[in-house]
Structure formats: structure tokens, C-alpha cells
């Protein structure tokens, strides 16, 4: 088997593990408070996947391991899929009543941030195909997909704001990784300008 195909299969399996957790939780009785637990599982895994997709470019730059590029889209699209479940669960928690959903976005900063990040990620998912890339032109496509940085920061802040305890460390770990990725991108751009 082609090693890239093999690795993709492994990656798909890893990506699908939380999804099976959710299925088991909801339909197999593993969850006690399903809405809350779906929020947690999907939000956490989406943020991890999106951060992983952000890490691809700097890792390629510093290691020159270009094969990694083949997995970037899978990571991003998988992150979107989890956020889609996350957003649908939020809709369910508002009983899909438009007035309640609007009020929730308007009244709560962390919902506004999460919702904004969702819309941005939706745009990226819709333009994630080769065809969309060709249609847009690589330059504009790259510009649009820089939104990934902004939405991951919004997602991280959304994660911080929703946690009840000041002891929660996980979202801060993600924020630090995002910051490191951003700094590395700045470094790469500076280097390229010089050369």
C-alpha cells in the first residue's frame, strides 16, 4: 500500500475515535448529560484538529518533510465536521428557535465568538476543494484561509470563557500553541523577505 494512503487511513481512524465516543454516549447510554458532553467532546477535538492543521506548514518549513502537506486538508475538514456537530448541538439546546438563538449570540460574548468562528470555518470548508481553489486562484484562496488563525484564536477564547473553573488549564495550552504557530509564521515571512 502507498504509505500516504496507509497514513491517511490511520489518520481517519484517529479522527473518528471521538465520533464513535459520541455515538456510544448518545445511543449507547454512555453520556449522562448528552448535550453538555457532546459540547465538550466536539469542541475539544475540533480545536485540536484545527491547531494540528495550523501546525502543518511550520513543521514542513522547519523539517522540510513535505509529505505532511497531504494531511492538512483532512485535519481541517475533520475539525469542521466536529464543529458542525457542536453547532447543531447548540441549536438543539436552543430548540432551534431562531429568536432564542439570536438572543444567545447577542447576549453572550463566548457564544458570539464561537458562532463567528463557526461561520469562518464554514467558509473554509466550502472552499476546501481543489475546484474551489482553482476557481478562486491560489492567492485569494490563501488569503481567505488565513482565517484559520483568527478562528482558532476565537475558538480558544470561547473555550476559556465557557469554563466554570479558573483552574482549567487545557484552553491555555491551546492558546500557547496557537501563539507559537503564529510567531513561527511571522518568522518564516521575515526570513522569506530577506532572502
Amino acid at each position: 500500500m502507498n504509505p500516504v494512503t496507509r497514513n491517511k487511513i490511520i489518520l481517519y481512524i484517529i479522527i473518528f475515535i471521538p465520533f464513535f465516543q459520541i455515538l456510544q454516549g448518545v445511543f449507547g447510554g454512555g453520556y449522562i448529560d448528552p448535550i453538555d458532553e457532546i459540547f465538550e467532546t466536539t469542541g475539544q477535538n475540533a480545536l485540536r484538529l484545527i491547531i494540528a492543521s495550523l501546525l502543518v506548514t511550520p513543521i514542513i518549513y522547519f523539517t522540510n518533510y513535505k509529505k505532511l502537506f497531504a494531511y492538512r486538508r483532512i485535519l481541517g475538514v475533520a475539525g469542521f465536521c466536529y464543529i458542525l456537530i457542536h453547532a447543531l448541538t447548540w441549536g438543539l439546546s436552543q430548540q432551534f428557535m431562531i429568536d432564542k438563538m439570536v438572543a444567545d449570540v447577542a447576549d453572550r460574548l463566548f457564544i458570539l465568538l464561537g458562532f463567528s468562528a463557526f461561520i469562518m470555518l464554514l467558509l473554509l470548508a466550502l472552499t476546501s476543494t481543489d475546484r474551489a481553489m482553482q476557481k478562486m486562484g491560489i492567492k485569494r484562496w490563501k488569503q481567505l484561509h488565513k482565517l484559520n488563525y483568527i478562528l482558532s484564536i476565537l475558538g480558544g477564547v470561547h473555550f476559556i470563557l465557557q469554563s466554570k473553573s479558573k483552574m482549567a488549564t487545557e484552553p491555555y495550552v491551546y492558546m500557547v500553541i496557537i501563539a507559537v504557530v503564529l510567531l513561527s509564521r511571522v518568522y518564516i515571512i521575515q526570513k522569506r523577505k530577506k532572502s
Binding site: D33, I35, I38, L92, S93, R108, K164, S165, K166, M167
Partner: protein
């Protein structure tokens, strides 16, 4: 066939199934003439029952709604002394030593002192109460508690005229409660009630649930239950009860004063900073039909609304 609830001890283990059958029996029995005589007196510690002919259980219960399963009640708890996660106390709280257990009663009263658990729990009649439990995090359960009327207990300590509030304190022992070594909250956990709230017939000290001893993750060996207030008021593993002149400062109020007040009455009209309190997720219900409208005072409005006459509950949230 059935034991008198008065003589029921927590450790007279009843399976959940038997428990439910027993309730069904009582419910149908109460509709007949003999029913009332079988179960009357079960909750006589509380005044408002006297005039009503219905059995004690139904006066303080939400019998028509499905009770939350024992597994869910004991598998999903907030107990920050052990974990910030709601699953983990089920395992981690088991290290708590609840026997022997001493409750110290003091402050503005004439009959305070130190009581061991058995002495303390013999100071009032054992009762069963099925209460709605509404967490500030917008989830809810229906829990069959057993325990004692708080008012009956407090009266025996003879609070003096200076007593305006009752302050409750959880055990402070870093060796047994590992998160007390951290700054997750200020320790020990403290809660308080106004004396008239504490004397309300609904206020309860739970020592068990589903007819069994109170599981450790649920606040063994004894905890407060004030069902018209959010869950965090229902302080667990109590070691100290004090009558005070000043309003006690409760732990969550210290942690986030704009999010958790002293009163913490269930109020669908006052949202939490980060979520609405208008609805609640019913634990144990299906994902697609688990949303329930939250009732003012968690459905106990007629029993407790008078306590807050003239108060702006948006200010005193």
C-alpha cells in the same frame, strides 16, 4: 409488607426497582381509604402537612415525573474537593472517611455542642422526600432523598434572638480532599441561609437517597437540600452549623460574585452570565427531548415565595 418510613434506616437497602414499586404502591394506596393511614405521619416534622390528607411523600415530591436513575444521580456530581469534572467524584470521593463523623453546632444559640452522626440524626424523624434538583449549570434531576427536616433539627439548638443566618461548613481536610490543596475555590466550602429560609419546611438534611446511605460523591454522610435553590447551595459533607448575626459569605460568591449570589433561588428570568436559566436539561432523558422549562423557585414557588416578598430578585440573585 412495607416498613414504616419512620423506622426505615438508610442502610435498609432497597433496590431501585423495589423502591419504585414501593412508590407505585403508595401512590395507588393513597387513593384508597387505607392508604392515608399507612403512610401518614411519615413527615410529621413539617407543619404544612397537617391539614392535608394525602400521604407525606406526595406533599414534598414530584411523583408524576420520572425519577432520575440511581446510576445518574451517583455518577454526575459537582464535588470540587475531589475533582472539577462531574464524573470523577464517583470514584475519587470514595477515599473520604465518613465514620466517625462529628457535627459541631455553635454561634448564636443556647443548645450547641458537638454531636456524633448517630446522635445528630436521631434528633428528628427520618423522612423521604422526592425533590427536584436544579444545578446552576442548567441541568436537573429528580431525587428521592431520605433525611431529616432542617427546621426540626435547628429548633433543638435553640437559636437566640441574635441569630439571623445559619452558616454551614464542609469538612476541611487536604489529605482526604485533594483539591483543597489547590486554589480551585476558597476552602473550606461554606454556604448559608437566612434563618427563616432554613426554618422553611422544605429545607432538609439528606442522609441518603433511594433508601440507601448517602453515597460519598453525593455529600456523605450528610448534606443540605434546599430544593428551591441552585445545587451549589446544597452544601455537602457538613461538619459545622453556626447561627450568625451577619450574612455568611458563600464560597461560589467569593469565586465569582457576578455569577453566583447568596440567595441563588432558581429563577428562569435571571440568566447566568454565560447561559440562560430559562430551560434545563433533564438528566436521563433522550438527547432530543431533554429540555424542560425551568419553574420559578424550581416549582416550589407557593411554599417559598413569601420569604422574598418585597425583594428585587434580579439584584438578590
Amino acid at each position: 409488607m412495607f416498613k414504616d418510613p419512620l423506622k426505615l434506616k438508610d442502610n435498609d437497602v432497597t433496590s431501585e426497582e423495589n423502591y419504585n414499586n414501593r412508590r407505585e404502591f403508595m401512590k395507588s394506596a393513597s387513593k384508597t381509604f387505607i392508604g392515608a393511614s399507612i403512610v401518614s405521619g411519615a413527615a410529621m416534622g413539617s407543619g404544612i402537612l397537617g391539614a392535608k390528607a394525602a400521604p407525606a411523600q406526595t406533599d414534598y415530591s414530584a411523583l408524576d415525573d420520572k425519577k432520575t436513575s440511581y446510576k445518574d444521580i451517583t455518577g454526575y456530581t459537582n464535588f470540587y474537593e475531589f475533582s472539577l469534572n462531574k464524573r470523577e467524584p464517583t470514584k475519587l470521593a470514595q477515599q473520604l472517611k465518613t465514620d466517625p463523623w462529628t457535627i459541631e453546632v455553635g454561634g448564636e444559640c443556647n443548645n450547641g455542642g458537638k454531636f456524633d452522626f448517630d446522635t445528630f440524626t436521631k434528633m428528628a424523624d427520618k423522612e423521604e422526600r422526592i425533590y427536584r434538583f436544579r444545578c446552576v449549570e442548567a441541568w436537573s434531576m429528580i431525587i428521592p432523598w431520605n433525611g431529616l427536616s432542617l427546621a426540626t433539627l435547628l429548633k433543638q439548638f435553640d437559636p437566640n434572638s441574635k441569630a439571623k443566618y445559619v452558616k454551614f461548613t464542609t469538612l476541611h481536610d487536604e489529605d482526604q480532599m485533594p483539591l483543597q490543596r489547590t486554589k480551585a475555590l476558597t476552602w473550606p466550602y461554606v454556604e448559608g441561609l437566612r434563618l427563616d429560609e432554613a426554618m422553611n419546611p422544605l429545607a432538609f438534611i439528606a442522609t441518603g437517597l433511594y433508601g440507601k446511605d448517602l453515597p460519598k460523591q453525593n455529600g456523605a454522610p450528610l448534606r443540605l437540600i434546599v430544593p428551591w435553590k441552585y445545587g451549589f447551595k446544597n452544601i455537602k459533607s457538613i461538619v459545622k452549623i453556626e447561627f450568625t448575626q451577619m450574612q455568611p459569605i458563600n464560597t461560589w460568591n467569593i469565586s465569582a460574585p457576578d455569577e453566583y449570589g447568596f440567595y441563588a433561588n432558581v429563577n428562569p428570568k435571571v440568566p447566568h452570565a454565560r447561559w440562560s436559566q430559562a430551560t434545563e436539561r433533564v438528566i436521563g432523558a433522550s438527547l432530543f427531548s431533554n429540555m424542560r422549562k425551568t419553574d420559578p423557585f424550581n416549582s416550589y414557588e407557593s411554599e417559598v415565595a413569601d420569604l422574598y416578598k418585597g425583594m428585587d430578585l434580579k439584584v438578590h440573585f
